[in-house]
């Protein structure tokens, strides 16, 4: 691989040539050995090698894929810049291989007004990062859950949809209005499905682990009843406003995904995403286990094989929705495979040590996850739970489809000659050890610190410009 005249982050990639790599192009559905040439920021050539020339190239080495798209990040600016800024968040995204990110509006003040969006955009521009920062607007004014935010003005200003993420839209009546009003604007409502009356003080998935650890239970039904409510309202709205769309983010339970599966089968305009941590971790980690969810036994204390490897109650694992049972993680993976889940979204939620290095029950919810997402997803690929192509699709074309028309004028994520280069290059054969201090994110709240992950990111190019390049050893 050679990068020529890539001066630094933000600079146009004058000349990039990668030969003899494994290309994954979810737009065309094609993958195989080949190479890519980028000149002056534009993909000049994508070449596919036939078998005779492909000797020694497989999908376990250098991989070239379209840049990843994250539907769900928290960059904390304005209001909590100690936890993350737009600039540090974009750097973290590039370090994770993401070239498009969608910022959640639960900042302080909330992004419920075009002026806040203008500030975020200015910060993105000032950062010099070529990673594309899109934004969700708030559903309700001030995210207070009482009345609609300035949805029309926000739409005109360019938000990609609306979400009160961090909390659900509290009343069914308001969900109906929001879906209707946003639908007429051609934009989705992104719902954080949580019935707050069932989760007051809740700390951990309501189940065996929470019972033993004495943590307040967070029932699956708190999520599922909110999903069911929205899915009951949606067809009634669609009758009036056919363009209405619902996206359910960070679904975490088997029951929620079943509801979405049935709604999709009935033809409802609903999409959903799942997070890397709900796919690959489980509530057993709260007990001190660190096995991937597919290796979990359902009883971290009782399996007699020493599952417990670290102290319990690590506050880095406190997240909303909570880490669920291994069977729920399996349901999340199944949903990706059968198309019920449209995307993997990180719910990257950086926090300061002041908010996170406290008692489990007092800790802020969230995992700083955008830089470890690929490694976690590749662990599933390595375990043959997902193909590499499925993983890449869930990180690229899947989320782009959710964005629909707001994806923008660019072609769908793919390796397309003549288009601005938007690619990530990673080495599946190279492992790296997660070190909180080495993360580009200001949020050091990762439960993966010290863990070795596969798939070191070598290069991220966004819109023809350099976003991240690994230091060469």
């Amino acid at each position: 691989m050679t990068v020529v005249a890539g001066a630094g982050v933000g600079a146009v990639v004058a000349n990039l040539e990668i030969s003899r790599a494994w290309l994954v192009d979810p737009a065309s559905g094609r993958e195989g050995p080949g190479g890519i040439v980028v000149t002056d920021g534009v993909v000049e050539a994508v070449t596919w090698l036939d078998d005779a020339d492909a000797d020694g190239i497989d999908d376990r080495g250098i991989v070239v894929a379209p840049g990843f798209v994250d539907l769900h990040v928290h960059f904390r600016e304005p209001g909590n810049e100690d936890a993350e800024t737009v600039a540090s968040g974009l750097a973290a995204a590039a370090h994770g291989g993401f070239t498009t990110v969608c910022l959640m509006p639960n900042t302080t003040p909330a992004l419920d007004d075009p002026a806040v969006l203008a500030g975020v955009r200015a910060a993105a521009l000032a950062s010099g990062s070529p990673v594309r920062a899109l934004a969700w607007g708030a559903v309700t004014a001030g995210r207070a859950g009482a009345s609609l935010a300035a949805l029309g003005e926000l739409a005109d200003a360019g938000v990609v949809g609306f979400s009160d993420d961090g909390a659900g839209v509290p009343s069914a009546d308001l969900v109906r209005s929001a879906l209707t009003y946003a639908g007429a604007l051609g934009l989705p409502i992104v719902e954080h499905a949580e019935d707050a009356t069932q989760t007051a003080g809740a700390e951990a998935n309501d189940g065996f682990v929470a019972t033993v650890l004495g943590l307040r239970g967070w029932p699956a039904a708190a999520e599922e009843s909110a999903v069911a409510r929205d899915l009951a309202i949606l067809p009634e709205v669609v009758r009036d406003v056919p363009a209405a769309r619902l996206h359910l983010t960070h679904l975490s339970t088997a029951g929620s995904l079943d509801l979405v599966r049935r709604a999709k089968a009935a033809g409802l305009p609903v999409t959903c995403d799942v997070t890397p941590h709900h796919l690959a971790f489980s509530d057993e980690w709260l007990a001190g286990a660190r096995r991937w969810a597919w290796e979990a036994t359902g009883d971290p204390w009782g399996d007699g094989t020493g599952a417990i490897v670290t102290a319990p109650y690590a506050s880095s694992l406190r997240v909303n929705p909570p880490l669920r049972a291994p069977s729920d993680a399996a349901a999340c993976r199944e949903a990706l495979l059968d198309g019920t889940a449209d995307a993997i979204a990180t719910d990257h939620a950086p926090h300061t040590s002041v908010d996170k290095d406290v008692e489990f029950g007092s800790a802020a919810n969230g995992i700083s996850g955008i830089e470890t997402a690929l490694g976690v997803v590749l662990a599933m690929v390595d375990a043959d739970l997902l193909t590499l192509a499925q993983a890449v699709a869930a990180l690229t074309t899947g989320p782009a489809r959710v964005l629909g028309a707001r994806w923008g004028s660019a072609a769908a994520p793919g390796l397309v000659e003549g288009a601005p280069a938007d690619v990530v290059v990673f080495d599946r054969s190279a492992t790296w050890t997660v070190e909180a201090g080495a993360l580009a994110s200001r949020g050091k709240n990762t439960p993966l610190a010290g863990r070795e992950l596969a798939g070191r990111i070598l290069l991220t190019v966004a819109g023809g410009r350099l976003a991240y390049e690994a230091e060469t050893d």
Binding site: E203, D206, G207, F208, A210, T211, V212, L213, G214, L215, R216, G217, D299, W301, G302, G304, A311, P312, Y313, S315, V354, D357, V358, E359, F360, G361, S362
Partner: protein, 344 residues
């Protein structure tokens, strides 16, 4: 946790001579902290029990004080109101000649001011070598143990664990049975199991001891325990969960009533204290279903007339005061054993 069945095995340890400093003893205690009982093996528990015997002997002397922990700083940091446990730890530490520092931190100071991490670093800088801690958040002592260079003793955390209570309960029961064993004995924990750290810790020690453990209370206050019972606790040993008080008390050897709190009504878990007392209160009539010599226990503080009738609490079968007395000896034993492994 490993479990020793039936017959008492030959002791795998020496009972320490508790008049001497713990460092001099080779008693096979390897734990630096006491955060929960689930980390203790059965030999560990036996060592605590026999060391408690030695401490009971000290408490029978005219002067109930030994110099074992002289010059050692025991800091008692309670984020929750408590009288009995705090005083019990304090008396235990003083009986061992430790220097005792008492800090009563309001829970609000955690969220409004100094963090737990800062507080622990501060008390360590002020000389704390052993930290006895109570906190309303489950798991808080594990955070303290991560940063404190001495020993942390959990004096109760949230709903999670109350290891010294479970050990003093075990000691009290063993002392009352002729063969000193709980194997096969039916032990009933009656009341608000869901919110009880006493119940959770007792599940581990009692299943380890081979007892036939029954949890009983209104179904709303047993949420989640059926799943645990099916998987088992110590060494995978199963226990029973029922909301039928008659089934639970029938032929019981021990009945331990738990405190019921008014907040449970506000949370919609119980209709009223009156209804609770009528359906689950430990009365003489109910106790008659248990074995005639059955022990009555309560971790305190009691709501007499609610979860336990006054005449039962003060009756011949009650060992509630013994629990309190044994609590001092058990805490002396634990302070002593942990002092032997604490980093100097």
């Amino acid at each position: 946790m490993t479990v020793v069945d039936g017959e008492t095995q030959a002791a795998a340890f020496e009972v320490p001579i508790v008049d001497s400093p713990p460092e001099a003893q080779q008693v096979g205690w390897r734990h630096r902290h006491l955060l929960d009982v689930d980390a203790l093996s059965w030999p560990d528990i036996e060592l605590v029990m026999r060391t408690t015997d030695a401490m009971r002997e000290v408490l029978r002397r005219p002067i109930t004080k030994v110099p074992a922990l002289r010059g050692r700083n025991v800091t008692i940091l309670f984020y929750e109101a408590s009288t009995r446990t705090r005083v019990s730890f304090e008396v235990a530490a003083r009986n061992l000649s430790a220097d005792v520092v008492n800090i009563a931190a309001a829970t609000s100071s955690v969220t409004k001011g100094e963090s737990l991490v800062d507080t622990v670093r501060t008390v360590e800088a002020l000389g704390a070598q052993m930290l006895v801690m109570r906190h309303s958040v489950s798991g808080a002592p594990y955070l303290a143990a991560e940063i404190f260079s001495g020993s942390v003793l959990n004096g109760g955390d949230g709903w999670h664990a109350h290891p010294t209570q479970a050990l003093l309960d075990l000691y009290t029961m063993q002392a009352r049975f002729d063969d000193g064993s709980l194997a096969g004995r039916k032990v009933v924990i009656l009341g608000d199991v869901l919110h009880s750290r006493v119940a959770r810790s007792n599940i581990w020690t009692l299943t380890a001891a081979g007892a036939d453990v029954w949890l009983c209370g209104p179904a709303t206050l047993l949420r989640g325990f059926e799943a645990w019972a099916g998987r088992g606790a110590a060494d995978g040993r199963r226990f029973h969960v029922t909301s039928s008080v008659d089934e639970a008390l029938r032929d019981a050897d021990v009945v331990m009533a738990l405190r019921i709190q008014k907040e449970r009504m506000a949370a919609g878990l119980l209709p009223s204290l009156r209804e609770y007392a009528a359906r689950y209160g430990l009365t003489r009539e109910r106790l008659a279903a248990a074995r005639p010599e059955a022990l009555v226990m309560h971790p305190g503080p009691m709501n007499e007339g609610v979860e336990i009738a006054a005449d039962v609490a003060a009756g011949a079968q009650s060992v509630i005061e013994e629990q309190v007395r044994n609590g001092v000896a058990v805490r002396m034993a634990l302070l002593y054993l942990l002092a032997g492994t604490a980093r100097s």
